[in-house]
């Protein structure tokens, strides 16, 4: 049987993402990868925390950060987490159309988040002259938040290409695991963001 | 039988070597011949740990050799199938518990020594000496803030007393190590200041090394610790305090040298009290026993050094000046007569400072 066969709901097993050995491998492998990412971000957080006091001039966390924007970004990303849960919910019910729809919403929210972040960086650089090079705090900040932003960007590319690639042929046992792990990735991005808004912005404001 | 006999041969060679080496190592350089509190304490710690290790090794080797002799497959046993034992609980417990105990025996003095060597309390006492140590590519600067004197390359300390070092680096990480007096400590750039103390038992000139890779001349960043009696130390301090940086030298050549020095060299080298600059402080250069920590201290070498320092210490930072051979000779005359103290490495009792 070819992978391209569109499977109708009747033939789909309960956990389509784990129904084949390849699917199981992708599933476990991706979780392992997330374990590694945890350490990666911990190293970045550690570095940021060690350097967040090394500011230059008035560009301290307290002075720079504006909570309104961060709040909006947080809401966008949290909601996108929920929409991707919806997408997976429809995947389990073998409703490809709805899954695509919710993934689309997720991507839009993600784009909104990314837009805010770009605006934020632009703002810091042009209004405050706060750059990657201006102090160790700047280096640590842009590296940590930028790495996260890079993950968001990659996630958007990933989900979009999956949507386009499978638009015509629908859900099957070959691509279900791919959709599933891309949504895991998206949740993980949210996990990291929870720590970023807490540790970088909120605690930065508290001082 | 060739197999395990062969294995014993190197063991035999090594035991001879061990005996041979125990007597080896230079008096003023070897960590095995402690001449100060830190080195002494640490040698004791090493001996404790070595004793434990020897015990462990003997046990392991005893079983090993026995097993190899006893259970080696013999002719005609090719088809013999040994009993397939799964393991043994009590044995597992034994070889878990005994090492734990041995390690505890080692851990206690380790922690004690670690805290002992980090002890700063006596420092508050009046009169305790503090020296600010700065590591530079590839030389050392020593500043005595309370005495308001400074010197480079040779660190003078009194015996029988703790001298506290506040250590940092002006460029990359270095590590300050005088094996026969104390263990080493890194000097870090920035605000990461370290402290340690030296306490020399005997008078002598002890060899110091830089122990952290710091560039091309890392292996040439040597210095000396000159331990003298406290009277001599006081003498040295007052000699140093009384240096007149502007004093005119006696010979004509040296006078010219002084001028040339002021023109070409003063930008980097200070004479008199100074913080760590671009180059070593040369106030008491005439009293050194080495040039730049490594060359024999004579005029010829000094001229060669001034003409082309890179030839002796690749990558060092002395550059960008222009002196003729003749000027170099005169400068050398000037520098060699900067010997303001009677207390020198050469004067030290029973000096092992020949090197």
């Amino acid at each position: 049987m070819s992978h391209d066969d569109v499977l109708n709901p009747k033939h789909m097993p309960h956990d389509p993402e784990k129904a084949t050995l390849e699917g199981k491998n992708k599933f476990v492998g991706f979780w392992m990868f997330l374990g590694g990412e945890t350490v990666l971000f911990a190293s970045l957080f550690g570095t940021y925390l060690a350097l967040s006091g090394s500011t230059s001039g008035d560009n301290t966390p307290e002075n720079l950060f504006g909570l309104e924007l961060v709040f909006i970004m947080t809401m966008l990303l949290l909601t996108s987490s929920l929409t991707s849960v919806y997408a997976m919910y429809h995947m389990k019910n073998h409703n490809f159309k709805k899954m695509q729809l919710w993934l689309g919403v997720t991507v839009l929210l993600g784009l909104g988040f990314l837009g805010c972040e770009i605006y934020e960086f632009y703002h810091y650089i042009h209004e405050y002259g706060f750059t990657f090079r201006s102090s160790a705090f700047g280096s640590g900040f842009y590296t940590l938040v930028g790495f996260h932003g890079g993950h968001v960007l990659f996630g958007l590319f990933w989900i979009t290409s999956l949507m386009i690639r499978n638009q015509k042929r629908g859900l099957n046992l070959y691509n279900a695991p791919k959709f599933y792990i891309s949504s895991l990735y998206w949740h993980f991005i949210d996990v990291v963001w929870v720590f970023i808004f807490t540790v970088v912005y909120l605690l930065g404001k508290v001082g | 039988m060739r197999g395990w006999m062969g294995k014993l041969r190197p063991v035999f060679i090594f035991s001879v070597l061990v005996l041979f080496l125990a007597g080896c190592g230079e008096e003023n350089l070897s960590a095995l011949k402690p001449k100060g509190y830190g080195a002494d304490l640490l040698l004791d710690l090493m001996v404790i740990s070595l004793a434990i290790m020897t015990f462990v090794f003997v046990v392991v080797m005893a079983i090993y050799i026995f097993v190899l002799i006893r259970y080696r497959r013999k002719k005609g046993e090719e088809n013999y199938i040994p009993k397939q034992t799964e393991g043994n609980k009590s044995l597992e417990i034994i070889w878990t518990v005994i090492p734990v105990l041995l390690l505890l025996i080692l851990a206690v003095p380790t922690v004690q020594a670690t805290f002992d060597l980090a002890d700063e309390k006596p420092r508050e006492e009046d009169g305790s000496i503090t020296v600010e140590v700065t590591g530079n590519q590839y030389w050392w600067h020593f500043n005595y803030p309370d005495q308001e004197i400074s010197t480079s390359q040779d660190l003078y300390i009194p015996t029988g007393e703790r001298v506290y070092l506040d250590m940092k680096s002006s460029d990359v990480i270095h590590s300050f190590w005088v094996p026969s007096i104390a263990g080493k400590m890194d000097t870090n750039p920035g605000d990461n200041e370290n402290t340690m103390y030296l306490e020399a038992y005997e008078e002598g000139v002890y060899w110091g090394h830089c122990a952290e890779l710091c560039g091309q001349s890392h292996s040439l960043m040597d210095f000396r610790v000159v331990a003298v009696s406290s009277e001599e130390y006081d003498q040295w301090v007052s000699d140093m305090q009384n240096i007149d940086p502007e004093a005119t030298p006696e010979t004509a050549s040296a006078k010219d040298g002084q001028k040339a020095f002021e023109n070409s060299c003063m930008g980097c080298h200070a004479i008199g009290n100074s913080p760590a600059g671009v180059g070593p402080n040369l106030s008491n250069f005439g009293n050194r026993t080495k040039i730049a920590g490594i060359l024999d201290h004579n005029k010829e070498n000094l001229v060669d050094w001034i003409m082309d320092p890179d030839q002796f210490k690749p990558g060092n930072k002395m550059e960008g000046y222009n002196v003729s051979e003749k000027e170099a000779q005169q400068i050398a005359d000037y520098l060699m007569q900067l010997d303001h103290s009677e207390v020198t490495p050469d004067s030290v009792n029973g000096s092992s400072g020949k090197k």
């Binding site: 374990g35 990412e37 945890t38 911990a42 987490s81 | -």
Partner: protein, 108 residues
């Protein structure tokens, strides 16, 4: 590749859909809680509550949110997540050690 496609009866399918729906409801509740925690966190900072109390609370709120994400949104609470759980907790242990180090002995 051994695709074990089961032929599920209509009845079973409906049971499964109900299960899925039930889980979805849980997840929406989780989401509501997460939004709530976020609101609390932000308002605590905006309202300038005493900073002794605020730091641990913020971290606690973040920790709970992350647990929600992992266990509900990412299904770590479900069966078949033994190895993922081990690895994630392993990673978090090392992450914790790293962060403690970087906030203490980089320099005191």
């Amino acid at each position: 590749m051994s695709e074990r496609t089961e032929n599920v009866s209509r009845h079973k399918l409906n049971v499964r859909k109900d299960e899925n729906k039930e889980e979805m409801v849980q997840q929406v509740i989780t989401f509501a809680l997460m939004i709530l925690f976020t609101l609390i966190a932000f308002s605590m900072v905006i309202l300038d509550i005493s900073s002794y109390f605020i730091k641990p609370t913020l971290l606690l709120l973040a920790g709970v949110q992350v647990a929600f994400q992992l266990f509900y949104f990412m299904h770590m609470k479900n069966k078949g997540h033994f190895m993922p759980t081990i690895i994630m907790f392993g990673g978090m242990t090392i992450a914790l050690a790293t962060i403690i180090t970087f906030t203490t002995i980089i320099w005191w």
